[in-house]
Every structure is written in structure tokens, then in C-alpha cells.
């Protein structure tokens, strides 16, 4: 199956692809549209995947929908950047604002497993203070979650995903030993380490969701370096090879290539099911509870598009905050060239990092950031050279010949939540007939100060290891968050600490869109930890008859 071929759903006959064997299948329980299942989960990424697995393992009947295909990594993931763009959500979006977001690659995913199928596997915990950043650090908003409770769910997520990390992590409170050892750090990571040591900062091998030793049927990572366009060996512990097979074995149904367009709400104000588009027709699945896990664009889009007479501004939106406080993370980079060969594409792209500026508050802006070693593949690298550096023709060709000598550092920085950074519905419609989302984004002065600080710091690090021809890439952003923030009250947030909407008691949101602030680390592990907690909370609510 290739992106240019028409794709048909694979999980319609009571079986799902066995990702570990070529052409293999695992049995999967089917539910009929008419059956009122306990839970419908919309989206199977870092939030929907673990939630589906845990709810099914707790005995609930669950149907999980994903708009993307159910891929077979061993057979369908090529060592080819262009072909692998099939993993991205490239449907039309309208972007505007002072700093329009570039949508469709690293900040999206349209596949069973969501963007974890192509993420860089960086699995970091929040700094504890970030859960109370308004009270303790003076910016953003407090989370209704306690960091100590999150610490236990982080540990569970790290176990489930067999995170490979260092025996002792240099920052933050004590945490249990990572389930697997950190990977060998490649030359690009060692140069980050050298630079950090020269600046007096600590550094660490990055905790990654790719195994350094066999795990079940996953082989250890072979350092192929194509992580960000899909792992063809299954070493990467994406949702597709971890929670999704668990979910299927526990009795959940995964509906691939099924786009949910609308949540139905009855006269009493409870959700009753979802309208979804699959195999050319619109269908309706009945459900007792609905969980939206579509990430920061699709989640508000679906809630807004499900407006009724009773909820004219969209579901769960009495606060007016659905779609608001959209956040991305600054992903600026500094690039340079070494005399010696580096071969930065060998291994996962971010094998080493420093979180120094996430834990050092001696700075004149809010928020923190980390930076990581880099290893972009050739097409991505050429787009940096043409975009950020403006090279073309002969100059571009000559620069590309230096590929094996390039090094780079890229930051993941905390951008502050702002009411006017938001997702709304446009007047235009897409291939499903659904309104296309409009994504409005502008950097705040604080964001710009953080970026300037990060660029200067990373530049110093490269200079200290003797890099030449240093240049800055000033415009990149990556992960998304916000748009359905969790909080302490129905006036100031969309969902409560249990990810349950204040307005509709059987409607939940469980993905990165519940983040009130986004922190200076990659969000995936936090999303997974929240999903694991939500599953436990739902079980507790059900036992008390409060579901």
C-alpha cells in the first residue's frame, strides 16, 4: 500500500494487522454501529492509544477511531523521506496570525498510532514546578494535577514504553531507573556533550522510546536514523507497537481510516455517539461515553463542529475557551560544520540533550527550554539550507556535499499560552465536507526573548566545539498543545483534572490539547501519563456510579 494508491480500511473483518510479522494478523473483536459501546475514543496517538488499551484492560467495551491507515511498518515504511510523508496529516488548513504555523509534518500524524509513529521518541518528564507555573514561577496557568501523582504515571508510561534512558538523570526530583539503558551517543550527541561541558552545563543521553535491547517482539534499535519518518524495524515504541496491540488483545476495536466528523448530543445534554466517515459512507456509532483525542487542531475542530441548538458555540464550550490558548514550542536551531566527519544521521536524531535552562531560572523571561543534538535526513536538511540559509543551485549542491560534516542543535522551548492563539472553523470545506480549521498564531514578546536566548546559547555551544560556518534557523516550531485546557473551574477551563468536560459529563478530552502550559520538553510522555491517569480516574468514577 502506498500513498498514491487508494487505501481501504484493514480492520473490517474482525482482525487487525500484526505489526510484528509480514502479512500477519491478530484477531480483533468487532462491534456493530448499533451497539452502545462503553467508550468511543477518537484518535489513537499518545493520548488515545494508552487510554484505549487501559480502558479495554479494565473491562470496558471500546471502539477507537483513527482517520489514518493501520500501517505495517515492516512492509510499508521505506527508507525514503518523500514516500514517508504519508504518515503526516496533510489535509488542508488555513494558517494566519503574525507567525503562522507550518502545519503537516512534525506537528501532525494521520495513522493508527498518531504522530508517535514518526516522532523523535524523546520521552522527558515535566519539571515539577511547571504544574504550578502561575503560582510558583509567575506565568501561564496552574494545572489541576499534582506533580507527585504525575510522577507515578510517568513511571508507568516509561515502563509500558520501555524507555531507554540513563541510569541517573541529572535534572529534577528522583525518578525510578529507566526500564532500558540509554543508547550509545553518536558523534553529533558527543559534540553537544562537549559543548555543554565547555559551558559548564550538565548534559545527558536522551531518554528515548526506542529499545536498546530486545523487548518482546521488538528488536533493539539498529540506528538506521529514519525515526522521524517511521521506524521500519519496530524498535521504536510507538503506540502502533505497544498500546494498540495491547488494546486489541484486551478486546478493543480499532477502526482505521475512519474520520469522525461530529459528536451527537441528545436533548438531555449527553453525548450519544459519533458520526464517522469510513469506506465512502457516513455512519453512526452509539456510545455511552465519548473521548476526543485528536490533538490540538482536530480536537477543537470536532468540538466546534458538533455545535447544536443547545450548544451553539460547540460542545464543552460554555467557557468560550475551546480552540483558545493554542501553544506550539519553539524549535529554532543553530547549525554549523566540523572539520572531522560527524555523520549526524546515524542513530536517533536526538541522542543527547541539556535541560540546563529548564531548571535554571536566572533569566529575564518566563518559561524554559532544552536543546538536543540533531540529525536531519538529506531532504529535510536541504529544505533548511534553501529556507533558513537561502542557498540554491551550485551553492546548495556544494553545501549538501558537506552533509557528513554538519552538526546542529535544536531547542524545544516553552511558548506561553495566549487567548488569541487559537483554532476556529473556516467557511471552506475539506474532502469529508467538514469545515477546514483556521489556525491563528502569533509569538509573544516573551516567546521572542526565549528564542533569542536559546539561539545565543546554542551558538556559543557550537563555537566552543570549533564549528565553522555557523548559521541560525529562526523560524521553526514543532509540538502543539492547548485548545481544550484543563483547569479548576468551568469558567476558566474546558475540562477538569480527569479530562472530563465541565459541560457534558460523558464527554472527555484526552490529548495534548488539555495542557494549560506546554513546558520546555517534548510533550509525548506527559500526554501518555495523563491518559494513564484518566483511565484510572474513569474506572474510579464508574465504580462510584458517577460516569
Amino acid at each position: 500500500m502506498y500513498a498514491d494508491e487508494p487505501m481501504r480500511p484493514r480492520t473490517m473483518q474482525g482482525r487487525a494487522p500484526d505489526v510484528f510479522t509480514r502479512g500477519g494478523w491478530i484477531p480483533m473483536q468487532l462491534r456493530s454501529d448499533g451497539e452502545e459501546v462503553d467508550f468511543v475514543v477518537i484518535g489513537t496517538g499518545a493520548g488515545g492509544g494508552p487510554l484505549t488499551a487501559r480502558l479495554a484492560e479494565k473491562g470496558f467495551s471500546v471502539v477507537a477511531f483513527d482517520a489514518g491507515p493501520y500501517f505495517r511498518p515492516l512492509e510499508e515504511f521505506a527508507s525514503d523521506e518523500a514516500s514517508q510523508s504519508k504518515l503526516f496529516w496533510t489535509d488542508e488548513r488555513i494558517v494566519d496570525g503574525a507567525n503562522p504555523l507550518k502545519m503537516g509534518a512534525n506537528n501532525s500524524g494521520k495513522a493508527v498510532g498518531g504522530s508517535t509513529v514518526h516522532f523523535a521518541m524523546v520521552s522527558l518528564r515535566f519539571r515539577p514546578e511547571w504544574f504550578r507555573s502561575r503560582t510558583l514561577l509567575g506565568y501561564g496557568a496552574d494545572w489541576p494535577l499534582d506533580w507527585r501523582e504525575m510522577w507515578t504515571y510517568y513511571a508507568q508510561a516509561e515502563q509500558d514504553l520501555s524507555i531507554s534512558g540513563p541510569l541517573s538523570y541529572p535534572w529534577g526530583p528522583k525518578r525510578p531507573r529507566y526500564p532500558y539503558r540509554a543508547h550509545e551517543v553518536n558523534a553529533a550527541g558527543l559534540l553537544l556533550a562537549k559543548g555543554a561541558e565547555a559551558m559548564g552545563y550538565r548534559w545527558s543521553p536522551t531518554p528515548l522510546a526506542t529499545v536498546s535491547a530486545p523487548r518482546g517482539n521488538s528488536p533493539p534499535c539498529v540506528y538506521r536514523g529514519f525515526c522521524r519518518v517511521g521506524c521500519s524495524t519496530n524498535a521504536k515504541q510507538s503506540q502502533l507497537v505497544t498500546y494498540i496491540p495491547r488494546a486489541v488483545r484486551a478486546g478493543a476495536e480499532i477502526r482505521d481510516l475512519a474520520m469522525v466528523g461530529r459528536i451527537e448530543v441528545d436533548a438531555t445534554g449527553r453525548a450519544t455517539g459519533v458520526h464517522y466517515h469510513r469506506d465512502g459512507v457516513w455512519r453512526f456509532q452509539r456510545a455511552r461515553n465519548v473521548v476526543v483525542a485528536g490533538y490540538a487542531i482536530e480536537t477543537p475542530r470536532l468540538l466546534l463542529n458538533s455545535a447544536t441548538d443547545r450548544f451553539p458555540d460547540g460542545l464543552a464550550n460554555s467557557s468560550g475557551l475551546v480552540g483558545r490558548y493554542l501553544m506550539t514550542q519553539s524549535n529554532q536551531a543553530v547549525w554549523g560544520e566540523m572539520e572531522e566527519e560527524v555523520r549526524w544521521n546515524k542513530g536517533p536524531p536526538s541522542l543527547a540533550l541539556t535541560e540546563h535552562w529548564n531548571y535554571d531560572d536566572r533569566k529575564d523571561f518566563f518559561g524554559g527550554y532544552c536543546w538536543m543534538g540533531q540529525g536531519p535526513l538529506p531532504i529535510e536538511w536541504s529544505s533548511v539550507l534553501t529556507g533558513a540559509r537561502g542557498l540554491w543551485g551550485e551553492a546548495l549542491r556544494r553545501q549538501m556535499e558537506n552533509y557528513n560534516h554538519q552538526i546542529g542543535l535544536k531547542m524545544v522551548g516553552e511558548m506561553l499560552p495566549h487567548l488569541d492563539n487559537r483554532v476556529t472553523l473556516s467557511e471552506e470545506h475539506d474532502q469529508y465536507g467538514l469545515p477546514i480549521p483556521r489556525i491563528t498564531y502569533s509569538w509573544t514578546d516573551n516567546d521572542k526573548a526565549l528564542i533569542d536566548h536559546g539561539l545565543a546559547q546554542m551558538r556559543t555551544s557550537l563555537e566552543l566545539v570549533g564549528a565553522r560556518n555557523i548559521f541560525l534557523q529562526k523560524d521553526d516550531t514543532n509540538h502543539l498543545a492547548g485548545t481544550a485546557r484543563m483547569g479548576f473551574s468551568r469558567e476558566t477551563s474546558v475540562v477538569d483534572a480527569d479530562c472530563r468536560s465541565w459541560d457534558i459529563p460523558n464527554l472527555f478530552v484526552c490529548d495534548g490539547s488539555v495542557f494549560p502550559t506546554t513546558g520546555g520538553v517534548n510533550p509525548h510522555l506527559t500526554i501518555t501519563a495523563i491518559a494513564l491517569r484518566t483511565a484510572d480516574r474513569i474506572e474510579a468514577l464508574a465504580k462510584r456510579g458517577e460516569l
Binding site: T21, A53, E57, S162, P166, L167, S168, P179, Y180, R181, A182, E184, V185, L190, A193, K194, E197, W203, P205, S212, A213, P214, R215, G216, N217, P219, P220, V222, T233, A235, T242, P245, R246, R249, A250
Partner: protein, 324 residues
């Protein structure tokens, strides 16, 4: 639900290898009581005078131990240094030293005479020296990397303990010459100390060092398979018994020590089988052997335990024959 255990042929192979290992360890304890009584009877019969044939037998056993370690070092360093592209010419040294040590060990194994051979002594001394130098090189290489002697470099940089196996091969070979080279009707001595005690102590120390190496690398692999615990549990017990025999009373049977040493020898051999399964679990398995033999678990490493166990058994024989 647990998705951590492999399924299919890998699970079957692991179960089979595990079963064979446990069976082998159990069988290696069979017949020990009987042979123990025989040893005791023999020792009583020749009170005060060591059997000279025992010395040669023990010496040849030590040749085999030295040769086993040399073979392990030869193949292991060949694979690992090839993986490192022999970027430093000195990386050929262990191949040469281990090959020579293997050859003279074979020679010693065939030699039933009572005299040390200068050529064997020279080669064994050279192997010991090469092992020491190798350790120095590896320590230097780890120390200069970012992170120094932190876990990350202990796991992935030049292994600090590996060249010591070459040292041990040289040391055991040299000891075999000393055991062999004794005047008739005297107890074999090494530097004036009863040979069994010297060999026993050296073996115990060697086993502990090898356990540390296996422990470090199995920790790197997160003991992801329970059988990975075997080399860090049974050999230390064997080393303990071996040390107890080396420093304890002589002239009596030590059936438990023998059993644990034999079990360690079994683990050394089955370790290679387990590592072969590990290679199969890497991406592409044995079809991709050219990559996975280099990056997977090292096939030649575990038999180092077998070599050391042979040395321990030689020490026990010497000690059993040694007058109180």
C-alpha cells in the same frame, strides 16, 4: 497485559536453551559423591607424596583452560576490533597474542612430559603482557571521552574488562608450566606456595572479574531475559567455593565446589547458544548475520567462564592431592 516476552520461534528457542542449560547444570552434579570418595581413598593411600601424574594432568587441564580463554579472546576481539575498523594498528595485538596462546595451549595439551617449555612460557608471558597493555589502552580510551568513567562509557566504549581475559589466558598458561615443572615426588609449588592454592586463588579472582564484565553488559541489556542472570549468580558461587578451597584445608574432596565449577562451565557454553538466539532477535536475525554478529550479543564471550571453570577444576585436583 505483558507484551515484553517474545512469541513464536524465539520463545521456543529460549525455552529449549534454558531447559538444556538447567539439565546440564543438574547433570554436572551427578557422580560427584562417588568420585569424591575415590579421591579421598587415593589421598589417604599416598599420604605425604603427591602423585606426579596428577601434576601433569592438572598442568594439561590448565593448558586447556588457557586455550579456551585464548579462543574466546581471539574470536571476540576479532569481531569487536573489526567492528572498530582496526582504526589503530595496535588492535591487531590481541589477535596475534591469543592465536599464539591458543597454539601453545594445544601443544601443552598434547605434551605429557614433566618439563616446562621455554617457548610456551614466552608466549604465555607475552599474552599476559598484551592483556595488561590492552587494559591500559581501553582505560585511556574511556577516560578521554565526554562523560569519562560514567556508566554510558563503561557500557559502550572499549570494554575495560575484556583484555583481562587475555591476561588470564597468559597467567593460567604460565601457571600450567610451573605446575608441570616440579621435581619428582614433591608437591607442585609455584613460587614456593602449593600450586593448587595459587591456581585456585587466581581462578576465583578471574571468575569474579569475568562476572563483573558480564554483569555490566547484561545490565546494559537490562537483563531483559531471565537467563541473563545465570552468569552473575552461579559463577560467583563457584568462585566462592574455589577461594574457600584455595585458602582452606587441602587433601579432601570438594564435591560442591566441583559441581558449581562444572555448572559454570555449562553456563559458559550455553551462553553462546543464548547469544545466538539474541542474534536471531536482532533486526533481520541470522539472515543479516554480517551486521548482527557485530552488533548483537557476542557469541565468543561466554566460554571464558568455561575456561576459568576448567582452571578451577585443575586447582581442586591439585588441592585434593596435596598433603594436609
Amino acid at each position: 497485559m505483558d507484551t515484553r516476552s517474545p512469541t513464536g520461534p524465539v520463545a521456543v528457542a529460549l525455552a529449549a536453551a534454558g531447559g538444556m542449560t538447567v539439565l546440564g547444570m543438574a547433570l554436572s552434579g551427578a557422580g560427584l559423591r562417588r568420585s569424591g570418595r575415590r579421591v579421598a581413598a587415593r589421598a589417604n593411600a599416598v599420604v605425604g607424596a603427591a602423585d606426579r601424574r596428577t601434576a601433569v594432568t592438572a598442568a594439561r587441564r590448565l593448558n586447556r583452560a588457557s586455550g579456551t580463554l585464548a579462543a574466546s579472546v581471539l574470536f571476540d576481539s576479532a569481531v569487536e576490533h573489526y567492528r572498530g575498523g582496526f582504526h589503530n594498528k595496535a588492535m591487531y595485538t590481541p589477535l596475534v597474542a591469543a592465536t599464539l596462546s591458543l597454539l601453545v595451549s594445544a601443544h601443552g595439551h598434547r605434551d605429557r612430559g614433566h618439563d616446562a617449555e621455554l617457548a610456551r612460557d614466552l608466549v604465555y608471558a607475552g599474552a599476559g603482557l598484551a592483556g595488561l597493555l590492552g587494559t591500559g589502552f581501553h582505560v585511556f580510551n574511556v577516560g578521554k571521552k565526554p562523560g569519562g568513567f560514567g556508566w554510558q562509557n563503561l557500557f559502550y566504549s572499549a570494554p575495560l574488562g575484556a583484555p583481562a581475559a587475555l591476561c588470564l589466558s597468559g597467567l593460567l598458561g604460565w601457571l600450567s608450566e610451573r605446575v608441570r615443572d616440579n621435581a619428582p615426588d614433591t608437591a607442585p609449588l609455584v613460587l614456593g606456595i602449593p600450586a593448587g592454592r595459587v591456581v585456585g586463588a587466581a581462578t576465583a579472582a578471574g571468575i569474579i572479574g569475568t562476572v563483573a564484565e558480564a554483569g555490566l553488559l547484561h545490565l546494559r541489556g537490562q537483563f531483559h531475559d531471565p537467563f541473563m542472570l545465570l552468569p552473575v549468580t552461579v559463577p560467583p558461587v563457584a568462585a566462592g567455593f574455589c577461594a574457600a578451597a584455595a585458602f582452606g584445608g587441602a587433601g579432601r574432596p570438594r564435591p560442591l565446589a566441583r559441581w558449581m565449577l562444572r555448572a559454570s562451565a555449562v553456563i559458559g557454553l550455553s551462553g553462546s547458544a543464548f547469544h545466538a538466539i539474541g542474534v536471531a532477535r536482532s533486526m533481520g536475525g541470522w539472515r543479516n548475520w554480517r551486521q548482527n554478529l557485530l552488533d548483537g550479543p557476542p557469541l565468543p564471550a561466554p566460554p571464558a567462564f568455561t575456561g576459568l571453570a576448567l582452571a578451577g577444576l585443575a586447582a581442586l585436583s591439585l588441592l585434593e592431592d596435596q598433603p594436609e
